[in-house]
């Protein structure tokens, strides 16, 4: 009896699912860095409006944008979160699949910090060159480019503790990795003179840049493909471990982690907003314009996200660790006008 009932209920559900397909909720996917902020906004959006709470999935910037570019229609996502700007190639893929009008929304900035165990060795001040010397695949030693054989931090910088090198860096599918490479490894490579030496050794500039971003593969540097919780667990288990975290994550775990300065600047929302702290990046989400007016609440969600009450300096997003964008008003205008990517600003 009950089996029959559930079978018929299932049949009804299947029929109505295909006939009344109108999705009533906004569907979001993408960067795990933006996910916390998006979830705060989604919850508040559901609490404060009559629209249902949007569904926010994770998976990384690239996978989010890939799903975003799959096409237009209710079985594709409406919004892609990204911790980096969309690439030319991705815009082209989007256009091929019919996703031509994309609205880019910058929500604020995120700082990337280097932190170690609270009770571990004194890792309190780093330069990009230290990080490069520690985990670059090839480094400059005695005027020559050699395979990196450093085992202790004090080998190349006497100010750093004599502790074994063990770094936990974001894996390549993370948007954070790109910022880490650009703002730390590349800068460090130039600062140590390794890049110059590579070019002098006959490499083209592009090849030298690529070589600078190579990370040693002998276990001193570990790619973390999961999220910051995994990095935290690794740091917990390794006194000498140094992890790469988002500012918000670090601020939620100050009792377990101690943060290091970069180029002498301590990472705080203030130093990141002013641009003094060097390792930061903008966070975005992308809206499919074709879905506005089709999916109820999509434009309202976008506007709600970047309203002063939420993304402003005293809003809940800033309270969680987002560095709010000084040019928020301009972004609000972009969304209100539904100005798409590529259109004249």
């Amino acid at each position: 009896m009950s089996v029959k009932l559930s079978v018929s209920a299932l049949a009804i559900a299947a029929v109505s699912a295909t006939s009344a397909m109108a999705r009533d909720n906004v569907q979001v996917a993408g960067s795990s860095t933006v996910l916390p902020y998006a979830s705060i906004v989604a919850e508040a959006f559901g609490d404060n409006t009559d629209f249902p709470t949007p569904v926010v999935e994770s998976g990384g910037s690239s996978s989010g944008l890939k799903r975003f570019c799959e096409g237009v229609g209710e079985n594709t996502i409406d919004v892609a979160n990204a911790s980096r700007a969309i690439r030319e190639k991705e815009v082209a893929t989007c256009a091929e699949n019919g996703v031509t009008d994309i609205i880019e929304v910058r929500i604020g900035y995120d700082g990337i910090v280097f932190a170690s165990q609270q009770s571990g060795p004194d890792f309190t001040a780093f330069e990009p060159s230290d990080i490069f010397n520690a985990i670059g695949a090839k480094v400059l030693k005695d005027g020559a480019i050699v395979d990196n054989t450093h085992t202790s931090w004090s080998e190349f910088n006497a100010d750093l503790p004599d502790a074994e090198i063990a770094m936990f860096i974001p894996g390549t599918k993370h948007g954070t990795r790109e910022v880490f490479e650009e703002k730390v490894l590349l800068i460090g490579c130039e600062a140590t003179g390794a890049m110059e030496a590579m070019i002098a050794g006959g490499m083209s500039e592009d090849d030298a840049e690529d070589a600078c971003l190579d990370v040693r593969q002998d276990g001193k540097s570990v790619d973390i493909d999961g999220d910051y919780t995994e990095t935290l667990a690794r740091i917990d288990a390794n006194t000498n471990g140094i992890g790469v975290f988002g500012l918000a994550f670090y601020e939620n775990n100050t009792d377990k982690l101690k943060v290091a300065t970069m180029s002498g600047i301590e990472p705080t929302t203030a130093t990141i907003a002013s641009g003094e702290y060097p390792v930061s990046r903008p966070l975005f989400f992308y809206v499919k314009k074709a879905h506005i007016g089709v999916i109820p609440g999509l434009k309202e969600y976008a506007q709600f996200f970047i309203s002063n009450d939420l993304a402003g300096p005293s809003g809940p997003l800033a309270n969680y660790g987002l560095v709010s964008d000084p040019e928020l008003a301009k972004t609000q205008q972009t969304v209100a006008d539904e100005k798409v990517l590529g259109a004249d600003m």
């Binding site: 299932l10 699912a17 916390p36 906004v41 989604a42 569904v55 996502i77 919780t229």
Partner: protein, 440 residues
């Protein structure tokens, strides 16, 4: 005489004293028993370690620090708050103001300001708004609210935050703990059973106090309905055909091999299949328990087919022969005699297959059931199948990856609840087997 017999029979030893070889054999047996005991002990030890660590980390999730305050909302305040964009924040501010004036009346000997009170409270706005919107007749009268304290204050009660390790942050100042202590003495901050954890839905990352597993339990329930309604009839029909009716040829052999192979396919593969077939091709909704159930059905089918075939095989041929002998048709034989005798085995296999499906996360990852999905309870059966929802293991996974330590605790609490469901299902399977199984 005695001498002669002693000389003629070579004495190797007596029955009561053991010779070297026997001793060796006995020792080997003893050693083997010891190895077995040690193996069991190691297994038990890890089981105990696992159970203790799950319980120790998870039990705090079931209690929560709450702020108990009497609160009156006037019609004017209600209208004012409802006219704002961020309505919940407006309610929160009203509540903070009310709490502050009450504390001032009590003249606590601790200094505090609205910011400190705000740091002590969790996200209270949505609870208050929901309450007054559902019962507008309460506007103007005094209502006692029990609202979740902030994650840090909650942690202070559970030992996650201690005075030794706490450092000033915008989430909590060290001086706030003095205020908390004073409020505990005044009976305003209390620890209570966290019903919201059992009944609520997911909440934003800055609101661990509002997170609950209830809605995702419903999501899991609807998925299991789909799995049961599809995989049991399909699985049993397929096994009966293969076992009782199908001719033995290369084609049925091929099917058999494939079923066994399918049982060993990693579950994430079914997720990819679900994404491609159900969402992209059939255009079923994303994040829906219906799709989750369909995917898990594919995963459970081989388990059910294999266990059903095993229990059909274990029915002795004499039963079939006797039925056929008194003139029953093949179909009557199967449905009147073989199937009822095999039923306990089939049910056990089904329940174990369901339990396996209940704990599965990987395939759900690809069809959008893992992430931030905080919906209200579904309205009715159809909405339960097609509205976005999470599932228990997916919810646990989501919580475990959040920054706030309060969510980590919730994840362990969720594991306890999931394990209770699994244990219950397994116990039902054991009881069914014990009560109805017949041995020949």
């Amino acid at each position: 005489m005695t001498d002669a017999s002693m000389n003629s029979v070579p004495v190797k030893g007596s029955l009561t004293t053991l010779d070297a070889r026997t001793k060796k054999r006995n020792a080997a047996e003893k050693r083997f028993k010891a190895y077995g005991l040690v193996a069991i002990m190691i297994g038990l030890f890890f089981l105990v370690v696992l159970a203790v660590s799950i319980l120790r980390s998870g039990i705090p999730a079931f209690t929560q620090a709450e702020v108990r305050v009497e609160f009156t909302l006037t019609q004017a305040q209600f209208d004012e708050a409802e006219s704002q964009m961020l309505k919940t924040k407006a309610y929160e501010n009203l509540f903070i103001a009310a709490l502050q004036s009450q504390l001032e009346e009590r003249s606590l000997d601790v200094t505090f300001d609205p910011a400190a009170i705000e740091r002590l409270l969790g996200k209270t706005g949505s609870t208050i708004r929901e309450y007054f919107r559902d019962s507008p007749d309460q506007i103007g009268s005094t209502v006692t609210f029990n609202l979740a304290a902030s994650s840090r204050v909650d942690g202070y009660f559970k030992g996650r935050v201690s005075r030794d390790t706490v450092v000033d942050s915008r989430f909590l100042k060290v001086t706030d703990l003095d205020l908390v202590d004073a409020l505990v003495d005044a009976g305003i901050v209390v620890t209570a059973f966290n019903w919201n954890f059992l009944t609520g839905s997911d909440s934003g990352v800055d609101n661990p106090g509002g997170a609950g597993i209830g809605v995702s339990v419903i999501g899991s329930f609807f998925m299991m309905l789909v799995v049961l309604a599809l995989s049991l009839p399909i699985g049993v029909a397929a096994s009966i055909y293969l076992e009782e009716f199908a001719p033995q040829n290369w084609f049925t052999d091929l099917i058999e091999v494939n079923i066994s192979n399918l049982a060993a396919v990693p579950s994430i593969v079914f997720g990819i299949l679900g994404l491609a077939v159900f969402i992209q091709f059939m255009h079923l909704p994303q994040s829906a328990p219906l799709v989750g159930g369909l995917v898990l059905t594919l995963m459970t089918l081989p388990t059910i087919i294999i266990s059903t075939r095993a229990s059909l095989k274990s029915v002795p041929p004499s039963i079939r022969e006797a039925a056929l002998g008194v003139g029953a048709s093949k179909m009557q034989t199967v449905f009147h005699h073989v199937l009822p005798l095999a039923a306990p085995g089939i049910l056990t296999g089904t329940i174990i297959g369901l339990a396996q499906a209940l704990g599965e996360t990987a395939p759900l990852l690809l069809i959008g059931m893992v992430g931030f999905i905080a919906r209200a309870y579904p309205e009715g059966v159809v909405s339960g199948f097609i509205d976005p929802n999470s599932a228990m293991p997916a919810q646990i996974y989501t919580w475990a990856s959040r920054a706030d330590p309060g969510f980590y605790e919730k994840a362990w609490g969720g594991i306890i609840i999931l394990l209770m469901f699994l244990l219950t299902m397994n116990i039902i399977a054991i009881i069914l087997r014990r009560r109805f199984e017949r041995r020949w």
